[in-house]
């Protein structure tokens, strides 16, 4: 069955008829063609599909799109303004927090969720927040460095 669902995706209001069994990741990638959100596993194992739902990091691969009625959804495509990078995007780019890049959108969205709750996290807090996001390239060293750099930069800008 389909139902009419109102969403706000990256600041843009959308109304859509969405099947009850459609996963949010399928809706984002296939219906809305927002392919920045990645599927790295068969459901809830790797964190690559992390998006923000009402500001909180959530796994799009185990979320039904129809349950997001009225929600504000943010994906990697909505980060940054006017074509410029967000603080986290810049930090991941400059500090090599990304290698193959496949985990990167999820990693950045989970980090964004963290920094909004906790603008100055220590390493243990970063690890706890990103513990569900697997990266196979970096050994996480430069990811932690990237998150720290973004936090410092945002603190400097504020």
């Amino acid at each position: 069955m389909k139902r009419i669902v109102s969403l706000n995706i990256n600041g843009k209001p959308v109304e859509d008829a969405i099947a009850d069994n459609l996963l949010l990741i399928e809706y984002l990638r296939e219906t809305r063609r927002l392919t920045g959100t990645k599927q790295g596993c068969d459901g809830g194992e790797c964190g690559a599909c992390t998006v923000l739902i009402n500001g909180r990091p959530r796994l799009a691969c185990i979320t039904l799109a129809s349950t997001c009625d009225g929600a504000k959804i943010e994906t990697i495509e909505g980060q940054g303004e006017g074509g410029r990078l967000s603080a986290l995007q810049r930090a991941f780019h400059e500090n090599l927090g990304t290698q193959c890049g496949f985990c990167t959108p999820g990693m950045i969205m989970a980090s964004e969720g963290l920094l909004r709750q906790n603008p100055d996290p220590d390493d243990a807090e970063i690890k706890a927040a990103l513990g569900g996001n697997i990266c196979r390239c970096t050994g996480y060293v430069k990811i932690i460095k990237s998150v720290r750099a973004a936090a410092q930069q945002s603190a400097g800008a504020a």
Binding site: T35, D42, L96, T98, C100, G131, N133, C135, R136, K142
Partner: protein, 772 residues
Amino acid sequence: MTKPRHFHVAGTPVPLVDGLEKVTGRARYTADLTTDDALVGRILRAPRGHARIIRIDTSRAKALEGVRAVVTGADCAQSYGVIPIAMNEYPMARDVLRYRGEPLAAVAAIDAKTAQAALDLIELTLEDLPAVYTAKEARAPDAVQLHPDKQGNLEREVHHSFGDPEAGMAKADLVRDEVFSCAEVNHAQMEPHAALADYDPERGHLTFHSVSQVPFYVHLTLARCLGMEAAQIRVVQPFIGGGFGARTETLNFEIITALLARAAGGKVMMHLTREESFLTHRGRPQTDVALKIGMTDKGKITAVKCEVVMAGGAYAGYGLVTILYAGALLHGIYDIENVKYDGYRVYTNLPPCGAMRGHGTVDVRHAFECLLDRMAHELGLDPFAVRRANLLRAPTFTPNDLMVNSYGLGACLDKVETASNWYNRKGKLPPGRGLGMACSHYVSGAAKPVHWTGEPHAVVSMKLDFDASITVLTGAADIGQGSSTIVAVAAADILSVDMSRIRVIAGDSALTPKDNGSYSSRVTFMVGNAAIEAARALRQKLVLAAAKKLESLPEDIVCEGETFSVKGSAQSMLSFQEVALAALAEEGTITVKGTFTTPIKAQGGKHRGGAVGSTMGFSYGAQVVEVTVDIATGLIRIDKVWAALDCGFAINPLAVEGQIEGSVWMGMGQALSEETRFVNGLAVHANLLDYRVPTMVESPDIEVHIVETIDPLGPFGAKEAGEGALSGFPPALVNAVADAIGLEANFLPMTPDRVLEALIKQRRAAKRKVAS
């Protein structure tokens, strides 16, 4: 023009040239190439470990509405494989299936639901055969034989002897032997496998996108298996979500996707699930290493004997290369005169193994560095001193004819010894905490490619056009390691131009020169050298044009920071654009190319299999690992890692650091928690929860020290940096655990249950000793 601006040069850190796409989500990976007109491909996989295929009835599947194509093993009678002499695999099993999960049939349908429904309508009639799941079972005298031409299920045995191993052992003051058992591991690259095949029946052309590290090999294999001319095929490489060796050979699903597209006369998208990606495998095989080392009381190694048995899975893949590597790279790291190696690669009814980061060397290096440590301990020698007693002196050739031109292992030892404060801390940490160290090395590209054509090993082209931009064309597959960035840096450095003037186009057989692919850490060395040569050729043309314009001699032209001037006279200075246009006026659009060919002397010994292990230069690494072990739970925590790597020269130090961190950490996964597991051939690990890749929570800080030795053949003096550090971690960990709790473990991974069991055994043994 004012003073030349400061431009990027090799040796300074630079972000990836394709990093912006990755952090913004604009990077398109294979699965992101969604199109409405693509059919959905799905694969039917074997439900048994070993069986004769009596019948595969696809009639009901074909009749289902929305199904556009169904293919089976009958649709491809052409075997394939990465090694020309060992092509014993078919994209879908024919006659006999040899592992659970092997593709048997495939469907292309209008949507995923229909494709799945069609798979369910395919009827299999199978006749079970006995199956062998371990090397021991496979080698038993009465074992069922997987391949008719391979008696005893031996894919390849290797017997190498250098020097006089017996005499060497006789000279030793201490001889010790141990057997180490290392579990099978998988690459678990973050991107699940995917392919998009588009067949145009009118033209008879196939356009193919996939996740490959070796688009060139995929191209050749598609031509072979589809019976097409290579000229009718175009292979394009989108962004690749990691490889680590999983994709260094053509994979069955790639050929299947192409077969489906041709059968359907259109476009087929194939997404494999994570489970299917695990089943496609090609990981590091379960390996038993029986190692014997002879040593003088001063720690000098007098002889080594090593027997290796690898359980390779159902098909050849890279197997014979893996078993050769394991023996060949006993050499090249230390000065050892007498070496005997016996290797056995065995077929089993499990998913085929292949190449994985540190190909062939990791488990053997593990055994070697562990045993070295234990012998040092027995002789009362420091682990660092034992390594130093066995250093090579470059330049040299090893007894198996491996060329060593630069050798920074000693410097790596110095770095991590100092950084970890080894002398003041080793043996002095509180109970349950310990320090361990180990060394490692790896090749900078195989000196002989598996597909030998006689061509140069790498070609890079460059184009300079009316807009004064430089387009670099390379077939090298950037799988996240930053190969496109290295090529751009090489061009920018030699031409002394801003990076923004350079565009890199990579991995499209219609546009870019052929490249063998991203494996054996060959790209920086070979493609980097080819890029330097191409850039030099372009620079020469620009210098000639500038000389003409400035009415000077070419040798007096200074090319720096996008300007050209005559040496000693700064007044008449031309901009890059002016010189580019002057050069174009001579001949129009300028295209140049550079190549790299490995020198004959780098190509290894004349003995059978002697080419494997041969390379232009080895990276060398040393690392120290600090651990805390909880003896109540068996849980090991890694507190800190100090890793030094001799990469010759760090063209991009940021990427070198990233590669070292990543490889140390991948070694940590293998050492601590990663292993594939099968129950009667059924994979029970095939997801990212049961296959335990370390998360950020259990991952330590890794302090990287780069050692530069400036290799005479390397691009700017560089060698590899992406694999060499991996194999140092597992033995350094096991040595650290021995230091922490006195447990000498001969198994990987060091999971808590295994550690506890070993501790209990050790306590019982100690009690028995007291009692007797």
